[in-house]
């Protein structure tokens, strides 16, 4: 389990990360979200022991993340690069050796990983001969070699075509199923909704959202229902506003109105209901709301949710 406790990191007196706490159990894909400059990269660099926190502590498997990080944590940074003239298999194997594998093990593992990302026929070519997307996959292999228990990926989908995006999704899900912890930092909110169990959003160094993705979306949505119907929406008690788009109607409710009462009233008025659901906010909308509406450092953690279940099972 990764445990981040009250971590603070200051640069020139300004807190880039301010009292951030969260936990990520094994077998979970966890999203680290936030606008540019929120402090995500600084936080990741502290988790990977590239930077040291000024206050607080970071524990991996219950121990401070120093030497333990080197063997079991892998990091794919947003700012990526490879030795341009090195051979693809050599560079992946080199990262394996850095993580403690023997030369023979590293080469065998590099071959298997390149095969997994459909690059085996490029193994003996120089990196500079590869396209950007292919280099991205090689970089992913350098992070994945050695079977890391914690894999931290910063914008891993950038530069990948839809086929390779699906390939990466499948790899991440396999890693989660194998019990690894995946920490994903991305601006692609649809990928977070599809892949991640829980999320933490930072803004100006503070935690502003933290919890299961579905719960966050529901909790911060308006008090509203979404119905699909071919009929016109009549005036119904308890509904303050109706927004219609492509046959879907979002009915914003009074504070005292219940979805069941509004649904009953619509049926009684002869509205033919094709589908009905509680409204939830997309993560993208939630992200914009957080950044625009100023869930800022004035109330750090104001929107943060509950701690994860101690059993390690995502809530």
């Amino acid at each position: 389990m990764l445990q981040v406790r009250d971590v603070v990191k200051r640069f020139e007196g300004r807190a880039a990360v301010d009292r951030v706490s969260f936990e990520v159990p094994h077998g979970e894909i966890f999203a680290l979200l936030g606008p540019n400059g929120a402090g995500k990269t600084t936080l990741i660099r502290m988790i990977t022991d590239i930077l040291r926190p000024d206050e607080g502590e970071i524990l991996w498997e219950g121990r401070p993340s120093r030497e333990s990080v080197r063997q079991s944590v892998a990091y794919l940074p947003e700012e990526r690069g490879l030795y341009r003239r090195a051979k693809v298999a050599d560079i992946v194997a080199f990262h394996g050796e850095l993580k403690g594998m023997t030369s023979r093990e590293a080469r065998a593992s590099a071959r298997a990983l390149l095969d997994r990302v459909e690059l085996s026929e490029w193994a003996e070519r120089q990196v500079q001969a590869l396209s950007k997307g292919m280099q991205q996959k090689v970089q992913l292999c350098t992070a994945m070699i050695g079977s890391p228990r914690l894999l931290i990926l910063d914008e891993p989908f950038s530069g990948l075509d839809p086929v390779n995006v699906r390939l990466l999704e499948s790899i991440l899900q396999d890693m989660r199923d194998a019990g690894a912890t995946v920490l994903l930092s991305t601006h692609q909110m649809n990928k977070v909704e599809e892949l991640c169990d829980r999320a933490l959003m930072m803004h100006r160094g503070h935690v502003v959202l933290y919890g299961p993705v579905a719960e966050l979306r529901r909790r911060h949505a308006d008090h509203a229902i979404v119905i699909r119907t071919p009929s016109a929406i009549p005036a119904v008690p308890g509904v303050t506003r109706v927004e219609s788009r492509n046959g879907d109607h979002t009915l914003v409710l009074d504070r005292d109105a219940t979805p069941q009462a509004v649904l009953r009233a619509l049926v009684e008025r002869g509205v033919e209901i094709e589908s009905f659901s509680r409204a939830s906010l997309s993560l993208e909308d939630l992200f914009v709301k957080v950044v625009r509406d100023g869930f800022d450092g004035a109330q750090p953690g104001a929107l943060a949710g509950p701690e994860p279940a101690s059993s390690g099972v995502p809530a």
Binding site: E67, R70, A74, R80, Y83, A86, F94, L98, K99, T142
Partner: protein, 432 residues
């Protein structure tokens, strides 16, 4: 700070192999000695041709003698030159001398001599004033002035000496006065405390050896350091390090790089020494020359310390510069410092005990090359305490620069796109 020998060795091996397998490395290893051999050939051959050409073209000397001292001068001058071959081995047969004849024509006044010079009847005109015996003043006129050879001066000098001594009964004495040291054998104390013959070949060796060993040392330090600069700049520019720093600490990475790329620099020295040994062995054997092992050991020490000093400096520069081009612009000044002793070579080799020579061997950037020049200078006896102090100063500076560079490396490798200002660098050093 974490240290894992295995991770350091992995980084060192990768950097070493990555460097020595590059075509540029092979080109440097083989191409540099070839280039120097070619340069020597290109420089010496035309010099020789120039000297012979000047004598060949000097067909006639016009003389206007107002002193009366040269009335009985010989009607022509013969000048001999021996061809030089810097690559000749010990058993090569000596080449035959070339002889050149210059006729002497007399003119009653300067006007007629000048007309003859302008019409190319004579190559030069020598005007001897009436008071020559008392003052030694002469005037010489030529159609052109050759900056690169004094062959023509030799012709005139020889004719004047022979004419002035023409009254002596013993002609061999005239020959001796003309070239008093032609058959001289000079013996000087060697490094082993024995007098050794200093002939022309040996004198050339005495000059070339400090030059070659100093250059070898300087180049290997600079090449090793430049590999570091290139490696660090490339890795910073291509953003490779951040993903690696998760698996290896900055200190391990720096140590691995210093060892791996220092090994590449050392491979160059070994390669060049091997090439020099094979090509120059016959000449060195003929001259009964051996390099004392203690000099080789000290040279190795200077290489190691000089490399750590210069390599650390290059690492620091690579870590703060935002790209390779900028890094090279900074590094050129320190490279220049390394080779400064060559600009003062005559002092260092001619007077290895002078204050300047001692000072340069105590100043860390110039210490390796300056000390090497002093140590192998002919007849040099550099006090042991000076060598020890020079090595200690260099070692202290190397460790200091290494510590500073390690701090810059830790912070600088994650800073992209902008070269820091001096206050920012100071802040990095304080906070890292």
């Amino acid at each position: 700070m974490t240290w894992s020998r295995r991770r350091i060795a992995t980084v060192a091996r990768r950097d070493f192999l990555y460097t020595v397998r590059r075509r540029a490395f092979l080109f440097t290893l083989v191409g540099t000695p070839l280039l120097y051999a070619l340069l020597m050939f290109i420089v010496i051959k035309p010099q020789q041709a120039e000297r012979a050409g000047a004598l060949r073209n000097f067909t006639a000397l016009g003389v206007v003698d107002s002193s009366g001292l040269f009335a009985r001068g010989a009607p022509d001058v013969w000048t001999d030159i021996l061809p030089e071959n810097p690559f000749a081995m010990g058993n090569a047969a000596p080449a035959a001398a070339q002889r050149f004849r210059t006729r002497v024509r007399r003119y009653p006044d300067f006007a007629s001599a000048e007309a003859a010079l302008r019409d190319s009847e004579v190559t030069q005109v020598l005007v001897v004033p009436p008071d020559y015996a008392g003052t030694g003043t002469l005037r010489r006129y030529a159609r052109t002035n050759n900056l690169f050879t004094a062959g023509d001066q030799r012709v005139v000098s020889k004719w004047i000496v022979r004419t002035l001594l023409a009254g002596l009964p013993d002609s061999s004495r005239i020959d001796r006065v003309t070239q008093p040291l032609r058959q001289e054998s000079l013996y000087a104390l060697g490094h082993d405390g024995r007098f050794e013959l200093k002939n022309e070949a040996r004198e050339m060796l005495d000059f070339l050896l400090p030059f070659a060993l100093g250059l070898l040392l300087g180049l290997s330090i600079v090449f090793g350091g430049q590999y570091l600069l290139q490696g660090v700049s490339e890795e910073k520019e291509s953003r490779i390090l951040e993903s690696m720093m998760c698996a290896v600490s900055p200190e391990e990475l720096l140590a691995g790089k210093l060892i791996g790329l220092g090994g590449a620099g050392l491979s160059l020295v070994v390669g060049w020494l091997a090439i020099a040994g094979v090509t120059a062995a016959p000449m060195l054997a003929m001259l009964h020359f051996t390099l004392p092992p203690w000099i080789v050991a000290i040279m190795l020490l200077y290489f190691l310390l000089g490399y750590v000093f210069y390599g650390s400096l290059m690492t620091g520069i690579g870590a703060i510069a935002s790209n390779m081009r900028e890094a090279q612009q900074f590094s050129v000044w320190f490279t220049f410092l390394t080779f400064i002793p060559f600009y003062m070579m005559s002092t260092l080799v001619g007077h290895p005990g002078s204050a300047l020579a001692v000072a340069l061997s105590m100043f860390p950037p110039t210490a390796p090359v300056a000390s090497m020049l002093r140590l192998v200078a002919p007849g040099a006896a550099v006090p042991a305490w000076q060598i020890a102090l020079s090595l200690l100063t260099l070692a202290a500076a190397a460790v200091g620069i290494l510590l500073v560079s390690a701090r810059l490396f830790r912070v600088g490798m994650l800073m992209y796109g902008k070269t820091p200002t001096l206050p920012e660098i100071v802040r990095w050093l304080r906070t890292s």
